[in-house]
């Protein structure tokens, strides 16, 4: 197999790991970790795409003809910022959930509804998931 493609296998592996952690884990912090692994896999996908065989770092130099593509790196820089913001917000929410519910296990958390109507809405929502 083309060794250049190993990156993409890594991407798939990480993507599946992240998604599995997101779905299978009840702990909210672990869910956020899973989300991060999932996002990082996409970052690697982009960065790998910027690789060009025998390409040098994209700094103008008289001795170099082939340069790697710097654009994916710049794009991913933005995506990393977005991911950091999401993680920060997610963790902040976990802290407040812990304070309000006394637990961060998704399986034990449920909407505490005053009237039966909202309870019903959550049951329907769970069954549709």
């Amino acid at each position: 197999m083309d060794p250049q493609l190993y990156n993409y296998w890594l991407v798939i592996l990480l993507m599946m790991t992240g998604l599995y952690a997101l779905i299978a884990r009840g702990n909210l912090i672990r869910k956020i970790i899973g989300l991060n692994i999932f996002q990082v896999s996409v970052f690697i996908l982009y960065i790998s795409a910027g690789f060009i065989r025998e390409g040098a770092a994209p700094i103008l130099s008289p001795n170099v003809d082939v340069y790697s593509n710097p654009l994916p790196h710049v794009l991913i820089l933005t995506a990393i910022v977005v991911s950091v913001a999401t993680t920060a917000l997610g963790l902040a929410l976990v802290i407040r959930i812990k304070a309000a519910f006394g637990s961060i296990d998704d399986d034990t958390l449920s909407y505490s509804s005053g009237d039966s109507a909202t309870e019903l809405s959550i049951k329907t929502q769970k069954s549709s998931q």
Binding site: L19, L45, A79, T86, A100, F101, Y111, S116, S121
Partner: protein, 489 residues
């Protein structure tokens, strides 16, 4: 000078306004400053719409870099129409939010909510303004992050859980979208949407393009709450601060649907792609399921916010169905309903927010007779409810008329039955709300008026009525937009 840069100013103004409001903090000026900026912004979008309708698509190159290399902002009839919708609703709702937020989350955190609200507006406007696929992702996340924060700011623990679960699902959606964009970038080397539309046909048969289309569609479908990816929407609409829900229900899913339309028709060469027609068929089926299941669930609930949330799922079904027909008439119907439903649901959630102000409860029982006590809100609720059903002389009738015409043209007879069935079901759940709100048993006939909330509600309800009576301007804009979107000049 301003005319030349108006296109980008529409996004930049709210982005700049947000940190300033943060600095102004708790002072009274903050709110009126926001209202001022958002009003100027709304005027700018109206001016841009007139420009687009007279001279055609507007293009703006950021930093003067020419299009495929630099980032380009492009405003077409559809984008201009949606910008008018977003900016106008945001400007009208800002004074409304001032009162509701102060009541619900306290004046000490009110300004933080205001900042998130402005950022959300900027994000939504940005999604529509840009012509660059990656920019769509960034603006999608700006608006989503502000939405998570706005939901969690409610002083209820259920809101925290709703926000967290939405954060997880929403981020998966955005990341799926990012994967799709990455794949088309790897294939074509460009992120400009117009340039992608030129280059993708060459590779339309490759597996990568098919997979990119699937990733993009699922990613956006999560944000747009297309059934069965709507599960996040119900708790979010049920537990977020009352004023915020009105804004979210009016705009956030519509803008995601706009992005879907843009990518399905403006970027991917659907007609040449092996899975193109299959995808549209699946979207049609999902839309039908959304209409029927959404309306049925709305009937089953007795919490007003849950009823309206499920009704939104059904209404998103109508829009998706129009888009998935992929005919000129279908897309026109979808655009008209996108516009109308934003005003209908916005005004309905505003009415409910005001009616529930005293008790803070949303069970139908607790709303009994309130329509008599607040007649203006009650009448606006009636107009919104009738629009939702599609009674003639309301905007909802125009939407349904065009959708059914499009279905007749496409000869989808069974779908017509489903649309009519869903409309009948909407009569039932709207009637439940109207019956409770105008219940006669309430004998406290003290009428109360509050201009700062009544005026925004009246304005939104008036739009529904006006379009119901004179829809020619909206229809001609929507027709132009759909022609442009489907590449039929």
């Amino acid at each position: 000078m301003i005319a030349q840069h108006a296109q980008i100013l529409v996004v930049i103004l709210p982005l700049l306004c947000a940190p300033l409001v943060l600095l102004l903090g708790k002072s009274r000026i903050a709110v009126w400053f926001t209202v001022g900026v958002l009003s100027v912004n709304a005027l700018l979008t109206w001016w841009l719409l007139l420009q687009v309708l007279t001279i055609g698509t507007l293009r703006y190159s950021l930093g003067n870099w020419p299009a495929p290399w630099g980032i380009e902002y492009r405003l077409d009839p559809l984008g201009a129409l949606l910008q008018v919708m977003i900016a106008s609703i945001a400007a009208v709702m800002a004074p409304f939010l001032r009162k509701l937020l102060a009541e619900e989350i306290g004046s000490s955190r009110q300004y933080a909510a205001l900042v998130a609200f402005i950022l959300l507006t900027a994000g939504l406007l940005g999604i529509v303004a840009t012509g660059d696929a990656f920019n769509v992702f960034v603006f999608l996340e700006i608006s989503s992050l502000s939405t998570y924060a706005l939901i969690a700011i409610a002083d209820k623990r259920d809101a925290l859980l709703a926000s967290f679960r939405y954060l997880i699902v929403g981020t998966i959606g955005a990341t799926f979208f990012l994967i799709g964009i990455g794949l088309v970038y790897i294939l074509t080397g460009t992120l400009n949407m117009d340039d992608l539309a030129v280059r993708l046909p060459e590779v339309s048969h490759t597996n990568t393009t098919q997979i990119a289309l699937i990733f993009v569609t699922i990613g956006i479908a999560i944000k747009a709450a297309i059934w069965p990816l709507h599960a996040w929407l119900i708790p979010c609409y049920s537990y977020a601060p009352r004023g915020i829900v009105a804004f979210l229900a009016a705009l956030s899913t519509k803008v995601a649907l706009y992005a879907l339309a843009r990518f399905l028709f403006g970027v991917f060469p659907l007609a040449d792609m092996p899975i193109g027609s299959v995808l549209l068929e699946i979207l049609q089926l999902l839309a039908i399921a959304a209409m029927l299941i959404g309306s049925a669930a709305a009937i089953a609930h007795s919490n007003v916010r849950a009823v309206l949330a499920y009704s939104s799922v059904a209404q998103i079904g109508y829009i998706t169905l129009g888009l998935a027909l992929a005919t000129s008439a279908g897309v026109t119907a979808a655009i008209i309903h996108m516009f109308n439903h934003a005003f209908i649901k916005g005004s309905l959630f505003m009415c409910i927010a005001i009616l529930a102000t005293g008790s803070g409860k949303h069970a139908l029982e607790s709303l009994k007779g309130l329509g008599h006590r607040m007649p203006i809100v009650g009448i606006a609720l009636l107009i919104g409810g009738f629009s939702l059903v599609g009674v003639p002389l309301t905007s909802g009738f125009i939407s349904k008329w065009f959708l059914i015409t499009a279905l007749v043209q496409a000869e989808k007879w069974i779908w017509i039955v489903a649309v009519l069935l869903s409309s009948v079901m909407s009569i039932i759940y709207v009637w439940k709300i109207v019956e409770a709100v105008f219940d006669k048993s309430d004998d406290k006939q003290v009428r109360s008026y509050d201009l700062s909330v009544d005026i925004p509600i009246v304005l939104l309800a008036a739009v529904s009525l006006y379009i119901g009576i004179n829809s020619s301007a909206l229809v001609s804009t929507a027709e132009q937009a759909s022609k442009w979107l489907l590449g039929m000049p």
